[in-house]
């Protein structure tokens, strides 16, 4: 059995503009796969390649065992897609949209669809132009999930949803995965992804910089250490240490992200006579900022980001 999503050296350029370069992904059946990256990193480009909206410039894509550009009809019958910014026809109501997609997909039963409408409180009677972003997104959730597809491709799905509905959405994703269906979840927000994803890939500047399980990433994530000093200190010496990054420094209080060994830091700081110290466990946020940062390449010359 092939994985629901496999890409090999997938590359897409738009003229001279970069899209994505050499993307290798393998998403397992029944998992929630997080796809993280800052805005403009290439998340939506990758997703459009998976859906067959874009033709690859080079490399290979296989979705549910087919090539999306060649067997698009077969593939897309088994996929649900939720774009981050769903554009609806301004004059049509939510109900008209849902009815049209129900008929176009040839939905065999409306029970699950109506359940989703109920569950997310989708507004059906207003024309789309009168709907808030969150309300449009609810229609989008119904359209993506109503046919119980084997694979869900979600691009920033919870943007615009209030926190209660974000929780409901996370439950929906867990149920979906528990049924053995696969979710490909793209986001620029770590929180959205780390709550549900089994594994994540991080994309930056069109290239995948890391693929790992959330648990493993957490283990390697930097700890946050904070020192307080009675007198103003210069943090330059601390910043020069291996695996230490100064996050915040107001002279008396210095907050550090620590991914290297602890002892050298403690030795150095002890001489500065700190009055207080707090340490927080592994912080994924900090890890992701490390990957997102533009100076990542020079920070970690041996990372797999070079061309």
């Amino acid at each position: 059995m092939t994985d629901p999503i496999v890409t090999r050296d997938l590359t897409k350029t738009f003229g001279r503009r970069r899209g994505v370069v050499g993307v290798d992904l393998a998403v397992n059946e029944g998992e929630v796969f997080g796809f993280l990256g800052p805005n403009g990193a290439g998340k939506s480009t990758t997703i459009r390649l998976l859906l067959g909206l874009y033709r690859p410039t080079a490399g290979a894509v296989s979705v549910l065992g087919h090539r999306p550009v060649v067997d698009g009809v077969t593939v897309r019958a088994r996929i649900g897609y939720l774009p981050g910014e769903l554009t609806l026809h301004p004059r049509l109501t939510g109900r008209e949209h849902i009815d049209w997609f129900t008929r176009a997909r040839g939905l065999a039963s409306n029970v699950y669809r109506d359940e989703l409408v109920e569950r997310f409180g989708a507004e059906l009677d207003q024309p789309a132009r009168a709907l808030s972003k969150g309300n449009r997104q609810k229609i989008g959730i119904v359209l993506a999930f109503m046919h119980r597809p084997e694979l869900l491709i979600l691009d920033e799905p919870t943007s615009g949803l209030d926190p209660l509905l974000q929780d409901e959405f996370v439950r929906l994703l867990r149920e979906t995965a528990a049924e053995g269906r696969t979710v490909f979840l793209s986001s620029h927000e770590l929180d959205e992804v780390q709550r549900v994803a089994d594994r994540v890939a991080i994309i930056r500047d069109g290239r995948i910089v890391v693929v790992d399980s959330v648990a493993a990433l957490r283990r390697s994530a930097p700890r946050t250490v904070e020192f307080e000093f009675a007198r103003a200190v210069d943090s330059a010496a601390i910043a020069a240490l291996d695996g230490v990054r100064v996050l915040d420094d107001d002279g008396h209080r210095v907050r550090l992200g620590l991914s290297g060994p602890l002892a050298p830091l403690l030795r150095l700081v002890a001489e500065l006579e700190p009055v207080d110290m707090t340490a927080r466990a592994a912080d994924l946020d900090e890890l992701f900022l490390t990957y997102y940062r533009t100076d990542y390449r020079t920070d970690q010359p041996d990372a797999e980001v070079s061309a």
Binding site: L64, V73, I79, W100, R105, L107, L143, H147
Partner: protein, 277 residues
Amino acid sequence: MTTSAIAPLTSRRAVGPLDVVRLDLRLRRRATIGYAVGLALYALAVVAIYPSFKGDTSIDRLLQSNPKLYAAFGVSGSLTSPVGWLNANVFNNFLPVVTVILAIGYGAWCIAGQDESGTLAPIAVLPISRRGVVVQKVVALAVQLLPTLVLTTICVLVGRTFQLNVGIGNLVAASVACWLLGLVFGALALVVGAASGSRGLAIGVSSAVAAAAYLISSFAASIDWIRPMRLVSPFYWAAGSNPLGDGIQPGAMTALIITAAALVGVAVTAANRADLH
């Protein structure tokens, strides 16, 4: 867990052959009705005032005094005969031009315009091929041109009560020619839109080609050096060749059908290669 255990909740594997047609006709309903009613009212007015011009031979003399000027407005030959009157006021200018505007508007919007606004992607990610999308768009184009043409034809038929006698067969031939002309330019806009992804470019290029074709057809009768070019003008095939007076022109009809079909073929290829958003 095998994939087959999780069958989607659908009863068919692909989007129905008329689903996109229905959606687009619904979205274009207002424009379609607006154009149809507007042109039908215009046609009624034209036939209603015919009796006042019928006996006025001074108009024909005026026309003969400066044929090139009138040719620019699609007027040639006698103005006071039923066929001349209808050609000069409806079939050589307003009806084909409005039909072409309607067709270019939809052709440019249905792929490029919808892609620019973001409403095409939700359809393109359904189980439907690009060719299926294009073919359904062409069917929607063909259908939405009909109300304008049918209503106008009916209103012109009413003209028989105003002494405006034209053969029904010729009238239908002229309307069908107009319909095919609309398909040609709608398909051209679709091609440019699918190839460029730009609705503005599709409208611009198609309108420019249509304007050139219109002028060639209009001036073919009065300017010698333009006359040979009439053979490449779809406007000439559809209107300038005078189907209203001379009946159906198999050669001209065939040229329109072949051109439209070829453009649809190119549109499918362009859509297959297009990156949609």
